[in-house]
Each structure stands twice: as structure tokens, then as C-alpha cells.
């Protein structure tokens, strides 16, 4: 069974076709990256897959279940990290993850384990507003994983992280992937996608331009491509984006 099965997904805002007939199949247990410049439609695509937005066209199934309308059977099986600031205001890191754990019927002990796993034990009593960007990012990821989901969506999880935090997070993400979970990641860092992802989909202007393993994409492009970044720039051009 596919973790994600999307066919012909389309979302239109006025004249803008934000996502234009995208099909994507992600087998269970795969680590897949969605790459694209700003405004390419990555976030809209993910939100339709997560069940947050209703597609204007096409169908999508996640873990064998329909995602729209809001499907309570599916929600405990997926974990979503939207962005670092999606927190309850003025709670400490520990209170924050305990609250999210309670929403999923998960006890405080397992929540504390996650705090340890993302290296925030020392910051447990710090309010989320006082965490650094990287700490908030790690807490946000821990909150997305606290209920042990089968499928994890991470939206630019390493943005605003320093190299240390980025490498530590890579280890963490590899760990959760090796534990058998399916991971969908969006990122601007091509090295990250190259290192972590088994397959990447390069998106622009609402469409998926190319899907494949990083190595295949580099080889297909031939001589000028030395890495995934060259492939990316070749596919999406070098103009400035929004």
C-alpha cells in the first residue's frame, strides 16, 4: 500500500494555478523530498495531501484513507510540522509538548522522552517565546512526532538552524525513517535533500518537473551537473523568485 497516492491534484486561486495537475506516489517507508523555489506550490501541495485544503481537482489518499473531508481516523497516524511558531502562547517547552501529547492521548512520560531526543531537556522550563529559532524548530518537530505517527510531513524543518543543529536534526530524521516511518520533507537545501532523501520531486509553477533518486537526476542531466543543486537550477532557472 502507498503511503501517499495523489492523482491530478489541482488548486486554483483566481488566475493562479498554484498546483496544476500533480500526481505523486510515495511508497510506505520512503524518505521523499519536495524541492522547489519559493512560490512553486510545495506548501499548497502538502496542505492538500494533509487534508488541510480541499483540492479543486484530482484525488488523494493517505495510508489508504481519503483525506477530505477531515478524517479523524487518519489524523492520529500522521504527524505534521507546519512551522516553528505553531505553539500555544506563553507555555514552556515541556508544557507545550505535554499539551500536544494530550491531544493525541499520549502520556507525559513519552512526551518527556521526545524532549530528550531533540535535546531540549535543559530548556524544558523555558517559554517557547524565549527559545532560539533552532530550539523552537526542534520543539515543533518533537510535537509533530510525539504520538509516533506512521507518516511525517516536515515543512522546511532546518530553516534557521545553525550547522550543528542541522546535522543533529539530520540524525534525528534518519532515525525516525530507519524506525520504519514514511517522511515527506520540503527544503531549500539541496545538500540536505541529497543526503537524506531516497527520492526527490522538483516542483515549479505548480507542476512536478522531475521525480527520481538524487543520483539518477544528476546522472540524467549529464556533464554539467555535479550535484543536486545544479539539477535544481537547470530545471527551475536562475531568475529571482518571490
Amino acid at each position: 500500500m502507498a503511503a501517499i497516492l495523489a492523482e491530478g491534484l489541482t488548486k486554483v486561486y483566481g488566475d493562479l494555478r498554484a498546483v496544476d495537475g500533480v500526481s505523486l506516489e510515495v511508497p510506505e517507508g520512503e524518505f521523499v523530498g519536495v524541492l522547489g523555489p519559493n512560490g512553486a506550490g510545495k506548501t499548497t501541495l502538502l496542505e492538500m495531501i494533509e487534508g488541510l485544503r480541499r483540492p479543486d481537482g484530482g484525488t488523494v489518499e493517505v495510508l489508504g484513507e481519503p483525506v477530505w473531508p477531515r478524517n479523524p481516523r487518519l489524523l492520529p497516524r500522521i504527524g505534521v510540522q507546519l512551522q516553528a511558531s505553531a505553539f500555544f502562547e506563553r507555555l514552556t517547552a515541556r508544557e507545550q509538548i505535554h499539551t500536544f501529547a494530550a491531544l493525541y492521548g499520549v502520556g507525559p512520560a513519552r512526551a518527556d522522552e521526545w524532549l530528550e531526543r531533540v535535546g531540549l531537556v535543559e530548556k524544558a522550563a523555558t517559554r517557547v517565546e524565549d527559545l532560539s529559532g533552532g530550539q523552537a524548530q526542534r520543539l515543533s518537530i518533537a510535537c509533530a512526532l510525539v504520538h509516533d505517527p506512521e507518516l511525517v510531513f516536515l515543512d522546511e524543518p532546518t530553516a534557521a538552524l545553525d550547522p550543528q543543529a542541522r546535522r543533529n536534526l539530520w540524525d534525528l530524521l534518519r532515525g525516525i525513517h530507519e524506525a520504519g516511518r514514511t517522511v515527506v520533507l520540503t527544503t531549500h537545501y539541496m545538500d540536505e535533500a541529497e543526503v537524506l532523501c531516497q527520492r526527490v520531486a522538483v516542483m515549479d509553477a505548480g507542476q512536478i518537473l522531475r521525480v527520481g533518486t538524487p543520483a539518477d537526476l544528476i546522472r540524467d542531466l549529464g556533464a554539467p551537473a555535479r550535484n543536486l543543486e545544479d539539477v535544481f537550477l537547470h530545471l527551475t532557472g536562475r531568475e529571482y523568485r518571490a
Partner: protein, 358 residues
């Protein structure tokens, strides 16, 4: 482990009590007005008359029982031996009246600067002299005076300051924190994408809204307890019979102003905008609904406008049952009106609501 409902409610309570600004505007700010109105303005219309006695004034020393208490309430007495200096004090406004005995006649020197006080002084002194005369004459004649006067206060329309301002200010405080709380939560959570995040958790919207509702109702009841407690303890607030009907009244009123806050939150694009919009709706409404001063003297057209405002009905209902001594049923109509407003505004807010600011 907490249920999802309890977890969200606890998170909201923590967010509230840790936010100094919202705590200030929910409790401290309205209480400042209560202290201001209840404390400073309470005695303004009935300040005591400053009276100087020059030499011995036996008629005032031998007041009949009962009159003595009234005398002390009316007059602030000081003594002097120098008539000229006492009159000079009256003339300069430091005292209101100077009295001396000339034989059996009580002579009062007063000014007309403050005509009300001059009237009180004359009337009171005449009453005390007459009362003493009557008592002396009655003793000599051996029969009690034929007529007697007994005074009994009734709950009247013109309430004392604290009686009037407590329900009005409480109404304002409840309206403000309910509207701000709802507006700021809705906008803040939308901005931070927490609303989205909660959409992706296996909790229904009912649980999220219910938790916010229960916390807001709890805050409103806390405000009520603090207001009534402080009013009674420090400013002699006296609640009348059916005051407990103010509890359901405040709860329905809270729903109504939460709805208004949701409307503000749905309309605005930023948290600041939502709070400003709530402020824009609640503050003028507080003035027009008699939260700060009675509207009895306002022009009729203004009173008709205020009838269209939910806060007016909350204030009137609370005045009726908390201090005017009306029956519990007096709160039913205001509650029905507030419930109507709550439903209408909620529907409007739901129509305008967007999950995200696009």
C-alpha cells in the same frame, strides 16, 4: 494524563495568567475605575459641613438621642474661642458655618458661597433647635409630643455611586476581556498556524471552542467575584435579593461578547488589528451603555441607540437584580436579548471566518 479538552483549557489559562497585559485589562484596569468612582466620587455630593462652635453651645451638647448621630453625620465640628477668627474662617471658605450662643439664641454665621451647604446648615440647625425645644417642653408638660417622625430608606432610582458603578463597570470588564480574549486567541492562533495545527490533531473543533468558552466564562465569573468582593469589602456595596441572577446574566453576556471578539478576529488580518477592532467596538459601547455614568439624563435618541447595544442590556439587567432589588425574573429579558445578540453575531462571525489570512 489530561483529556484533550482539559489540556487545551489549561494551556489557555496559563497563556492568560502569564500575559500581564491581558490580566491588567481584565482585572486591574476596571478595578482602578471602581476605586476611582467608588472611592473618590462617593462623598462628593454629601461632604460634611464644617462647623465651628465659639464658646459653649449647650443646645448642641444636649441633643436628644438619635439626633446626636444625625448631627455628627452632617457636621464636622471644631471648637474656637475667638468669634472674629471663626467668622474670618467662614469668610475665607475654610469653614462653612460658625455658631455661638447669645443668651438662649443660637446664632449661626454662614456664607452663601455654597448655597446647598448653606441650606443644609440652616435647615439642620433649625431642626436640632426645634427638636431640643420640643423635648424640653414635653418634659415640662409631662406628655409626649403628639407627632413623631420615623425615617426609612427605600431602594430608590438614584442609587449611591458604588451601587451604580459596580454593575456597570463589571459589565464593561466582562465585555472587554471576553471580546479581547476571543479576538486575540482567534487571530493569534491563526497567525501562528496553531489553528491549522489543531485541525491536524484528532480533536474536534467543538473541543477547541468549548475549552476557550469554558476558560472565558471562568474568567468572567472571577471578575464578578473580585468586583463584588472588593465593592462590598471596601466601598460598602450592598447586593439586593436576586443578585445571584447576575451569574447567568454574566455568563450569557460573556457568550455575546466572545462572539463579538470572534467577529473582530474574523474581520482583522493581524492580532493587533483584532484587538483594536474589539476595542473600537467595546469602548464606545461602554460609554453609550451607561457603564461609566447613568444615561437617565441623556437625550432620548441616545437612549434609543443604546437600546441597540448588547452591553446596555447586560448593565441594566445587572443593575436590576444586583442593586435595585428587583425580582429574579427581571434578568430574563436581558438574558434573552443577549442570547439573541450572541447567536446573530456568532453566525455573522462564522460566515466571515477564514482559516488563514491569505
Amino acid at each position: 494524563m489530561r483529556t484533550p479538552f482539559a489540556a487545551i483549557a489549561v494551556a489557555i489559562v496559563r497563556g492568560f495568567v502569564r500575559d500581564k497585559a491581558s490580566l491588567f485589562f481584565a482585572l486591574v484596569f476596571p478595578l482602578m475605575f471602581l476605586v476611582l468612582f467608588g472611592g473618590l466620587f462617593a462623598d462628593r455630593t454629601q461632604s460634611q459641613v464644617d462647623l465651628i462652635t465659639v464658646g459653649d453651645v449647650p443646645v448642641l451638647d444636649e441633643l436628644p438621642p438619635g439626633a446626636e448621630e444625625a448631627f455628627e453625620e452632617t457636621f464636622d465640628v471644631s471648637e474656637s474661642d475667638d468669634l472674629d477668627e471663626a467668622i474670618a474662617q467662614v469668610r475665607s471658605g475654610d469653614a462653612d458655618v460658625a455658631v455661638e450662643m447669645q443668651g438662649d439664641t443660637l446664632v449661626a454665621h454662614y456664607t452663601l458661597t455654597d448655597q446647598v451647604k448653606a441650606g443644609i446648615t440652616q435647615g439642620a440647625l433649625r431642626a436640632f433647635v426645634d427638636g431640643t425645644n420640643v423635648q424640653v417642653l414635653a418634659q415640662e408638660a409631662g406628655t409626649p409630643p403628639p407627632y413623631d417622625l420615623q425615617v426609612q430608606q427605600v431602594e430608590d432610582e438614584s442609587l449611591s455611586t458604588i451601587q451604580f458603578v459596580t454593575p456597570g463597570l463589571l459589565g464593561w470588564a466582562v465585555a472587554m476581556s471576553a471580546a479581547f480574549g476571543a479576538a486575540a486567541t482567534l487571530q493569534g492562533w491563526r497567525q501562528s498556524k496553531l489553528l491549522r495545527r489543531l485541525q491536524l490533531a484528532p480533536v474536534s473543533n467543538r473541543v477547541v471552542v468549548g475549552a476557550r468558552l469554558v476558560v472565558t466564562l471562568g474568567i468572567a465569573l472571577t471578575q464578578m467575584a473580585v468586583f463584588v468582593g472588593l465593592g462590598a469589602a471596601a466601598f460598602d456595596l450592598r447586593l439586593t435579593g436576586a443578585w445571584w441572577m447576575a451569574v447567568p446574566l454574566v455568563l450569557v453576556g460573556t457568550l455575546c461578547f466572545m462572539a463579538l471578539g470572534l467577529l473582530a478576529g474574523a474581520l482583522a488580518r493581524t492580532t493587533e488589528g483584532a484587538v483594536n477592532a474589539a476595542n473600537f467596538m467595546v469602548l464606545p459601547m461602554a460609554f453609550l451603555s451607561g457603564s461609566f455614568f447613568p444615561l437617565d439624563a441623556a437625550p432620548t435618541w441616545l437612549q434609543r441607540i443604546s437600546d441597540l447595544l448588547p452591553l446596555k442590556h447586560l448593565n441594566e439587567g445587572m443593575l436590576d437584580v444586583m442593586v435595585r432589588g428587583e425580582a429574579w425574573s427581571a434578568a430574563l429579558l436581558p438574558m434573552a436579548v443577549l442570547a439573541g445578540f450572541a447567536v446573530a453575531i456568532t453566525l455573522l462571525a462564522a460566515k466571515l471566518f477564514r482559516w488563514e489570512t491569505v
